[in-house]
């Protein structure tokens, strides 16, 4: 095969050599038997030459190349046609492959590590992580080749000069780099035994340290302790967790109470099942040393999970159904966009095939097989598809670059790393061939249908008739465009709706001040409480501040969701409820602007030692106490042990807790000062009429309390980016796809309409010459295209009603997937586009002088 391929490039040389050889043979023969005899014996030199050459040829490839050459010449003769087709395909394929790249990067990217196939994430006793003593116990059991731990949700305070910054760090055990095999670009990784070194991410090194080439060995003060930089990660580093997570740096675990998630290097050939069995038996040993404390009959060996770090297995184990569904929807949407692009090319090819009918007829007449001509026409669409794919890949590279640079408003740094790779190449080749077939097959078959004589006799205008296939294409395009636009519109409406609807609290008059303390500086909770009380009283004293409070969870930015059995004093039957929890200090509801409907809010008297109190939201009150007023009633948690009774002191208005899309969430507020949580993350909330004016003051006030604390202050409105993210991303992606679909469908519509009107120029001229009213002619032309429009839009709307139903999971509950306003707007937009596409060509046809039109032959 290879030799044959080489032959393709040396054809000229081969022919010359063969001629030489024949000449030599003839001369030799002539010398022996005389020239005439030799020639006679030799027979047909041409025939022999062909036979010899065919030994070397790959028949189909040569034919294909010849077809492609012919197609290229045909396209060069029609640059307008070629440009339109390639442009359509480039947009369709560019969108398609970009979403493909995005999906691959997000769901299937390979982490930066050695042999990911023998790495497994582990989870024991249903916990996502365990503290250091338990980790060391398992590590020292030596049940795997290596066992490391990491915590990707850690924060640290970095002191630089007089400022303190909060960093997102990946806290890892000292053997993490060795077990996982993470490559570094510069310097050395964190090595076993090292406690005071950090490895920087490329992003952090470039953005915060100006890509200092001499950074290795430099000191950084982190959480009040000196560390030295030992290495820098490569720019294409991907964490094991994936999803674009990009911590600022890797740092060794420093405290015994730090929680780490387990990751193990399995010995070569060990199956996941075998690893699972080993881990379970090790967990039973762990039970003896560190008995689990979450209730009777609990064991570390329960709910053990062992999951490979990469591939489909992992995706199944993560709860990413909404993500997968979202990418699924996206892939379908871009598939539809591509379909519209193909339909464009298809109708262009159809129009061309009609124009070339006589050429094709002649070729059929002189003996070309129908299959051969179909193949030749397909080669033309293949060439278009290949060119379109090349242009589409340029679009892809550009769009991926844009997406890589996007900074998402997420609580953790996320950096996408979309790069073209072999998967993209294979995918786009497949897409190119598919689109060539989809776009080219029907026109090619249609063009060669009918006998030779019929084709030869008729001219283009006479046979083109009503162009059913072309009309079907227009209707199909319109229908698909309706579906796309409806989806896009729905998401745009969703975005505006979620931006304008109230989250249930007053986001416009609240400032969120986040203060992260260095854990080592606060060894007693008394110390912390003093700091908080000082902070609150100083904040309240600031001019313009109406109220200040503190809470564990800032709504729409963080989440504490739990499932518990609760028994109220009304009944002996426990109720199983799943609800959001927040613990908040006095004045929280006043600060956040959440109305207390019954009872009161927390008071300074609700302190440690006083009877435990709680506030429910309406939904929770309804669930636990029905129609009764719950104020004054008590409830208890039944697990792990029966808790002391907790008194309900108030009922608060329903609001949003974690996402804007959540529907009727239940929520329970505990009192901040009755909880003994050892937290270093302080979320102060301040109510003021002018949030932007006090941001600076608040930061300074808190900074004076503890210089080692990292402080970030922002108006609540600015902190809503995370909450708006899903609806914004949805609107941006699907909205732009909808517009793209509309644009492509309009190009197609316009092309087909102007073609069919141009075809009727003679007829129109005749009618006008015979005295037809211009308005009547216009109505006649318009009627045809409006019939197509009505059919296409109705079919599209019919499909859209069903197609958008599953999208409800992405929409805020206040917006129905079958939002009538959306459907009406889409129909109106398409009608407008279709009218423009029809009227333009029709008016042009009317302006044609009847005599010119009649002579148009």
């Amino acid at each position: 095969m290879l030799r044959k391929l080489l032959f393709l490039f040396q054809r000229k040389k081969f022919n010359a050599e063969l001629d030489d050889e024949i000449r030599f043979h003839l001369e030799m023969a002539a010398a022996e038997r005389g020239e005439a005899q030799a020639r006679r014996e030799f027979g047909s030199a041409v025939r022999m030459r062909e036979d010899t050459r065919s030994a070397w040829q790959i028949r189909w490839l040569e034919d294909l190349l010849a077809d492609l050459r012919y197609a290229a010449r045909a396209l060069r003769r029609n640059p307008g046609f070629a440009a339109t087709a390639i442009f359509s395909l480039a947009l369709g394929i560019g969108a398609n492959t970009t979403i493909f790249s995005l999906t691959m990067e997000f769901l299937f990217s390979q982490p930066s590590c050695r042999n990911p196939e023998t790495l497994a994430d582990m989870r024991i006793g249903g916990n996502s992580g365990i503290d250091m003593p338990k980790y060391r116990f398992l590590r020292d059991a030596h049940i795997f080749e290596g066992l490391a731990g990491s915590n990707e949700e850690s924060e640290s305070n970095w002191r630089l000069g007089n400022d303190t910054y909060r960093l997102h760090v990946m806290r890892v055990t000292d053997n993490f780099f060795r077990v996982v095999g993470v490559p570094v670009a510069m310097g050395r990784p964190i090595e076993p035994g090292k406690r005071d070194v950090v490895v920087l991410s490329d992003r952090f090194w470039k953005a915060r340290l100006a890509a200092d080439p001499n950074v290795i060995g430099k000191a950084m003060i982190i959480d009040g302790r000196p560390y030295s930089v030992s290495g820098v990660l490569p720019h294409n580093h991907r964490t094991v967790l994936g999803f674009g997570l990009s911590p600022d740096l890797y740092i060794p675990v420093s405290r015994e109470t730090d929680i780490v998630a387990l990751i193990a290097r399995l010995p070569e050939g060990m199956s996941i099942q075998a690893a699972y069995a080993r881990l379970v038996s090790a967990c039973k040993e762990l039970d003896k040393v560190y008995p689990p404390d979450w209730g009777p009959k609990s064991s570390w060996a329960n709910n053990v999970e062992v999951v490979p770090v990469a591939g489909v297995e992992r995706l199944k184990s993560l709860d990413i159904a909404p993500f997968s569904a979202f990418f699924g929807v996206l892939m379908i949407v871009v598939g539809l966009v591509l379909l519209i692009a193909c339909a464009n090319v298809s109708s262009l090819l159809l129009a061309r095939a009609s124009a070339r009918r006589q050429e094709l007829a002649i070729r059929l007449a002189i003996g070309a097989g129908r299959g051969r001509i179909v193949r030749q026409l397909l080669a033309e669409s293949l060439l278009l598809a290949l060119l379109g794919t090349c242009a589409g890949l340029l679009v892809n590279v550009w769009l991926s670059g844009v997406m890589n640079r996007v900074q998402l408003p997420l609580p953790i740094p996320v950096q996408l790393l979309i790069q073209p790779d072999w998967r993209l190449l294979v995918y786009s080749m497949a897409v190119a061939v598919m689109s060539a077939l989809v776009a080219g097959l029907m026109p090619a078959l249609k063009a060669t249908r009918g006998g030779v004589s019929a084709a030869l006799k008729l001219t283009e205008r006479q046979v083109a008739g009503r162009g059913t296939l072309r009309n079907a294409l227009v209707v199909g395009q319109l229908a698909v465009a309706v579906v796309l636009l409806t989806t896009g519109f729905l998401f745009v409406r969703n975005m505006t709706k979620s931006m304008t609807m109230g989250p249930g609290f007053d986001a416009d008059h609240v400032v969120w001040a986040y203060m992260r303390l260095v854990p080592e500086n606060y060894t007693s909770s008394e110390q912390r409480r003093t700091l908080i009380n000082n902070g609150l009283s100083e904040l309240r004293a600031l001019p313009g501040v109406e109220a200040a409070s503190i809470a564990c969870i800032v709504p729409l930015n963080d989440n504490w969701h739990t499932m518990s059995e609760i028994r109220t004093d009304l009944s002996d039957q426990p109720i199983r409820v799943s609800f959001h929890v927040n613990c908040s200090a006095p004045d929280y509801f006043r600060t956040m602007g959440i109305r207390i409907l019954q009872g009161r809010e927390f008071l300074p008297a609700d302190r440690q030692g006083a009877p435990e109190v709680a506030i429910l939201n309406e939904n929770m009150a309804l669930k636990l106490f029905g129609d009764r007023n719950p104020v004054g009633h008590t409830f208890r948690y039944t697990a792990p042990t029966m808790s002391a009774p907790i008194t309900v002191v108030g009922v608060a208005n329903n609001s949003k807790y974690f996402t804007l899309g959540e529907e009727n969430p239940l929520a329970l507020y505990e009192c901040y000062f009755q909880k003994q949580e050892d937290v270093v993350k302080l979320h102060f909330l301040v109510r003021t009429l002018r949030p932007r004016d006090v941001v600076q003051q608040i930061a300074q006030t808190l900074g004076r309390l503890d210089a080692s604390a990292a402080i970030e202050v922002k108006p609540m409105r600015d902190a809503m980016g995370f909450a708006f993210l899903p609806s914004r991303v949805g609107a941006a992606l699907l909205g732009s796809m909808g517009l793209l679909g509309l644009a492509l469908a309009s190009i197609g519509l316009y092309g087909v309409m102007s073609y069919s009107v141009a075809r009727r120029t003679r007829e129109i001229g005749l009618r006008v010459a015979l005295g037809a009213d211009r308005g009547a002619v216009l109505r006649m032309v318009a009627r045809e295209s409006f019939a197509l429009l009505v059919i296409g839009v109705s079919i599209g709307l019919g499909i859209a009603v069903f197609a958008t139903r599953p999208l409800a999971m992405f929409l805020v509950p206040e917006l129905s997937a079958n939002d009538p306003a959306t459907f009406l707007s889409v129909a109106a937009v398409l009608a407008a586009v279709a009218s423009i596409a029809t009227l333009g060509p029709a008016l042009r046809a009317l302006r044609v002088d009847p005599m010119t039109a009649l002579r148009y032959e």
Partner: protein, 109 residues
């Protein structure tokens, strides 16, 4: 192009391989040698010789090189590759088997 009528089908490759086993030759000499060795019984048509040679080049059994012929002319010399040698052994074994089998039938029937 099927080989000339007198030749059993498929034996042209075998003959060429056998002739070339003794050393490189050009096309004309191959035809000549086959004719001489068979005492003029077998005549190879040029119309099948060169296509066959080229098919054998494609299969990698032969290599071809330009050289100078006995009468000082530029000619293309064909020689066996190791693969071609293997093929020769294989084909001649097959051929022997076939002949034996045919003779067996001729004798007993």
């Amino acid at each position: 192009m099927p080989p000339s009528a007198e030749l059993l089908p498929g034996t042209l490759y075998l003959l060429i391989l056998k002739i070339l086993a003794r050393g490189p030759l050009h096309g004309y000499a191959i035809a000549r040698r086959i004719k001489d060795s068979s005492e003029d019984a077998l005549e190879i048509e040029e119309g099948s010789l060169y296509p066959a040679l080229n098919r054998m080049l494609v299969k990698g059994w032969l290599t071809a090189e330009w050289g100078v012929s006995e009468n000082n002319r530029k000619a293309r010399f064909y020689s066996l590759t190791p693969e071609g040698r293997k093929q020769l052994e294989h084909e001649s074994r097959q051929f022997d088997k076939l002949i034996e089998a045919i003779q067996l039938v001729m004798r007993t029937a």
